[in-house]
Amino acid sequence: MAGSTSKTVHDIFHSMEYGPTSSSSATAQAWLESHSRALGLFIDGRFLNPADRQTRTLADTKGDHVCSVVCAVEEDVSQGVSSSAGGLRSWSALSCPQRAKVLLKWASTLGQYGQCVAELSDLSQASCSPASLVRLAQYYSSWAQLRDARLPHWSPRGVVEVVVSDDCPLYSLMLKVLPALAMGNAVIVVPGLSTAPSALLLAQLFTEAGLPAGVLNILTGSAVSLWAKVAHSPTVSSVTYSGNKQDGVALCKTTAGLGVAVSVSPAVGATCPFVVFESADIDSAVDGAIEAAFKKRKEIQWVLCVQESVLDSVVARLRLRMAGLKCVALASEADRSLVEAVVQGAQQQGATLIQSCGPPAMGLQYPATVLCGVAPSSPCVTSPPPWPLLPLMSFRSNTEGVALANHSPHGHAASIWTEDLTLALEAAKSLSVGSVWVNSHSVCDPSLPTSGHKDSGTCTDGGQEGLYQFLQPSSSCPSLSRSSPASLDYDKFGSAPSPAIVPTARCVCVATKFYQQFVGGKSCKSESGGSFAVQAPDGANVLAYCPDGGRKDVRNAVEAASKVQPGWMKKGPSARAQSLYSLAKGLEAKRPELAAAIRAQTGLSLDEADQEVELSVDRLTDWAARCTQAQGGAPAVPQVGSALSLPQALGVVGVILPDNKPLLSLVTLLGAAVAMGNAVVMVPSQRYPVPALTFIQVLQASDLPAGLVNIISGARDQLTVALANHNVIKAIWYWGSPEGCQYLQHTCTGPFKTLWLHSWGPGEDEACWAPTSASLLEETWHNAIQWRSIWIPTA
């Protein structure tokens, strides 16, 4: 910029160029200076800067030194964790209104120091407008106020660890921290390098707003090993993550087997479709695409999908509008070679470029570039291209547009452009993403609940629904017990062969029944043809032979399930309710058979067995009734426009059932999943499979579509492995061994599956299936759906 200051009025009058605009960072620099540019930890309401620690340095976009950040070690972690335990006590001692008041006070403190927050986040490349943080604080303070009134059966989880990757924006970090605090948890934040300075400043403001010491502790360092160190502490009750996919996977793998629930929102780096239909306001769509893709470094990557009939006019406008765009600064030399490689690869496949100018020969500048004519298989589409590239694909019909947009492992968000209301809503409903922005993009508000669909997450953020990741049912104990990870050979898990069945002398005198499993609406043997023996309750005799299901049975079941599930979801809640009512009726009709099966299997008295069947009938009726009660809403947001939040089925859910209450647990989980529009692949308890296999008769007589419910019996570990390794299955509900939990946590990361894990030994969970357990039903319901929000700007 040295030359630009010497430009005369005369030169500029002719070139009419934009001049240099510099934003001041004086306030942020002053704050950094007050910490001597060496930021430490924030524990127990105080800044700590322990000596002899490694540090990481943070530079701004120009490469100038901003500050150094301490890397916490074991000692700091234990100090932080014990402070959090104390913080949790004092935070819990406050009433809801008192907690709400602290959050509100923080919002007003934020107003006072907004300049400093804005400058600091800008400087550390984690840009965030203070206004959006104020909105977060105000929204969650209202939930803090109303927690006990609106969520009576729920209590805070305790100490929550919030971790983010280095490239995660500050807003995403605070979108986890504020609801956790509002629900009464203590929070340990491990920020990324870029969010560390702002997080420390915000923590300081929290103390100023009257947050008790220890409720919010910040441990800097941000390496996966630090995350695991914090998670190792038994005080920490859940871990939640936001950031890129790789670090999320690493977090899941290192925390597997700790007995701590981990939820991830890997939105950074997600590919999102930007769909322009022919009925769109093309000019606005092109402006939107340029704004979304090039104006600011964004954490998500866009792919432009344009209907063929308007492709030429979109390309012509892109050319005109992009002619005025300047080159953007890349982060590093490596980024530049990556960008160049992607562009070259695309060109070799015949892509044409739209650029404002050729890339400069040297340096970290690169022009905004649209890659026209790439295919869905092109590497620049499958592995998202880094900034500032935008791949462009075309499609023929509206349906194909949706299919093209859905053809991605990511399910974070989509932007669709059309003036046709029907098309907009239909497309919004058929896109499997968490947020759909109609004729707009990148609208965020904490009142909109969104779940990462497909590979984009395992939890819901925002809205009332987003609060449950920081809550647990008051009545039940935590479903996972803390443990240290076993040394598990993940490749060998579940691969032990089942014992072969050979006729023995004993079999001659007892007529042992052979059961069949239920796949794709047909009862059948296992693909392998094998069976396993089920012991009678006395332990002496073989009660029955059940199919020994395996990987191929799961494959067949998932295939059938995924075929029928979309139609089932579309049927609508009242049709689903009718099917469940008739299923309940069918169960009632078979009551004696099922009671007998339960008795034979578990050795309960006939009365007790009959009671379980009766409860199961009630449970199905209950789910049928709840079908029509599950609904989204139209959250009120401060922006001008209309928002919709819609509950969505997850897709295909795998369920490994517990030993206890073999029938009641089966129908409870089946009812929940099916009521919300999911298909299920259920694995009955290995010990007590007979009631579930008897229940197949009821399913066969029901009007549920064939393939919606599948029941596969067999060795639990073997089937756990089969479910875990099928990528179509979006969620697994697991009752079983701690090793099984560890295996699932470790394995279900690519793509991410939503896990609901229970590592209870036999007998421990009996109470939880009780008829009056309202929070169990609520929790099951939350696990059976994911959320989508649709945003339509209107006056």
Partner: protein, 318 residues
Amino acid sequence: MSARNPGMNIDLEWVSKVRVNTQAVLKRAQQIQSVKLAKKQWQAAWLLKAVTCIDLTTLAGDDTPSNVHRLCMKAVQPVPYELLRSMGMHERGLTTGAVCVYPSRVADAVKTLKAANSSLPVASVATGFPAGQTPLRTRLEEVRAAVADGAAEIDIVINRTLALTGQWEAMYDEIRQFREACGDAHMKTILAIGELGTFTNVYKASLVSMMAGSDFIKTSTGKESVNATYPVAIVMVRAIRDYFLRTGHKVGFKPAGGIRTAKESLVWLALMKEELGDEWLSPHLFRLGASSLLADIERQIFHYVTGRYPALHELPMA
């Protein structure tokens, strides 16, 4: 002025396919208003550019030869020579884009400018300005009279009745006739956007006006309740872009009414630069219809040069 827009046959299919998303346009307008502009010499240069694009206007019932004379002299030397010299801009003969008056005052303006040896064009509003509610015959006669008196540019108003009732062909025919009546004079078509109802209608009216051969399209007369706003301007310049992409003809844009401050004039320039590119940043494709804007720009330039804000009497009276 440069090559004129010859117009084309009316293409109703094109007109019928127009779609404008109101909220997206409003959002875009906000973005453009939030574009940060540089200070110091950049601001000064941009402000001088704005001066060259001003159609310095007086459209009042009490216009007389004397105030039109003053206006013309101001248009010829809009920024005091001393100020220009200290910026190195004195050798350009910097003037406003044109002066704009009622048809009856055209002769006065032409006379003054001729006496001052200036080639500055005189623009005249015509065709029943501002309502356009007079018979076509008299509206055409008005145009011919103004041209005969020496007007080089004619600002016509469209017939809002035709636009609001969707009679695009009839509107096209009328504008065509005005264009013929203009002869060599450039034609600026005023859409009176405050009375068109929707953005979609503004876009359609813009297209039809350009098809009929307008050299400029202009937002408003300055006499309606809603004048030049950025969202409407975005709709109109997008229509200009659309027309350019289809036909290759470049049509100019003139926002008018309510533009009073130097800062607003900078936003207008930024809007043109963003939406249409640098080529539209010159008087042959961009005009600002204004009367009091110039005084504020002068004030800012005075401040840039001297570091002080002037008293009113230190700047030449318009």
